[in-house]
């Protein structure tokens, strides 16, 4: 049995790492053996942050530097990430789940089906309520769309129920979940969705 590989993409600063941080506690409580691969452009910033968080042993957080182009290493040439995932599986034979965080990118980024079994796209309320209407492949094609930072809606003049309805409409009924990763809200639903769709446990 190989570990499920789940991609987490989305624009810069939407809360991808915050979602992973919030999910790790939930996943541990539910006994799901997890490891993480982060992609940053030129540093190991996100990996270091996750290691400092202490929710996973440091060696279960691996960093792949994406160079100049974050979507290339998750789509056109995903082999560096595939190698990192293969290596994690070899090092931790019982692994259930590998989360792969893409470097922050634009709405057109997608994950190669060669790399992941399932991928989610994280946008945030502060990016503007017009984002779902812009319909990038990330918004439309991801297996799960997460709209994060719902707490900020009143501060940035966003009508959240309308944004959510538009997101559901452009996705033709494919799942959309709302979160406040900072406070862990909605994260249990994301984990439950993963369990049902990819972990089968």
């Amino acid at each position: 049995m190989t570990a499920a590989r789940v991609g987490i993409g989305g624009p810069v600063g939407s809360g991808k790492t915050a979602l992973i941080e919030a999910m790790l506690g939930e996943l541990a409580r539910q006994g799901i053996d997890t490891a993480v691969i982060t992609n940053d452009l030129v540093t190991d910033e996100d990996a270091e942050r996750l290691r400092r968080g202490g929710q996973l042993p440091p060696d279960r957080v691996r960093a792949v530097q994406a160079g100049a182009c974050p979507h290339t290493v998750i789509r056109e040439d995903p082999t560096l990430n595939m190698a990192a995932a293969d290596r994690l599986e070899a090092d931790y034979p019982g692994l259930d789940l590998i989360l792969l965080e893409s470097g922050g990118d634009n709405l057109a980024s997608t994950f190669s089906p060669d790399l992941v079994d399932f991928w989610m796209f994280v946008i945030d309320v502060a990016g503007g309520d017009d984002i779902p209407r812009k319909k990038g492949p990330g918004i439309v094609q991801s297996n799960l769309l997460v709209i994060n930072k719902v707490d900020l809606a009143p501060h940035v003049g966003v009508d959240f129920p309308k944004m959510l309805a538009e997101a559901q409409a452009v996705r033709g009924g494919a799942p959309v979940l709302a979160t406040v990763c900072r406070r862990g809200e909605g994260v249990a639903e994301v984990v439950a969705h993963l369990r049902h769709e990819v972990l089968f446990k």
């Binding site: 030129v42 530097q65 994406a66 100049a68 290339t72 995903p78 082999t79 560096l80 290596r87």
Partner: protein, 216 residues
Amino acid sequence: MMPLVRAMQLADSGFPSGVFAFSWGLESALADGRVDRHSLPGWVLAELQGRWHGFDRLALAGGFRATGAALGDWFATIDRLMPVERLRGASVQAGEALFAAARALRIGLDPAAVAAERAGLGHFTVVHGHFLAVSGLDLAAALAVSALAMARGCFSAAVRLGAIGAIAMQRELAALAPRIAALAADLPAPGTLPAGFSPLSDIALMRPRDGRLFIN
């Protein structure tokens, strides 16, 4: 025609081999001002004549020719010839990406190569040679694929770093083509050990990675 078509596929920049993210020292060289738009073609040629011809060509030919225990030994030999740890690490990382591509493509590699990867010795040029042999290329084609890939890799890194335009890059590459062909036509005698690297990029590869755009 079939070997030609296969060689073109394997030489295509879209072929997923993991080397995209590497600039092979060019990034630091540009940052330090040791290379600029005008000296770039000369830098690439120096890399080809130095690092590629002196090292990669021989490492690749060994990986191409050897099988079984001899192949395993060749991975270990190349590993010992890479004293700079950053270069060694990058070479192994790029190699692991090619191993991952082979697994995903279900291209069966020699068990000795797989064992070398597990032992952390899966250097890119060696596994590339082996991979190209298994894919049905002859050694001359494999060397041409490798030399062209290195030249194109350097130039395309320069394009992404904003040091040269995408059109000018193709012009420079075309101008270098006869040199690339001549270097690649130099088939090494079996067992020839690699010499050294070109000094400029060695220095670049030893620099810390802080603030660098690419892995190297």
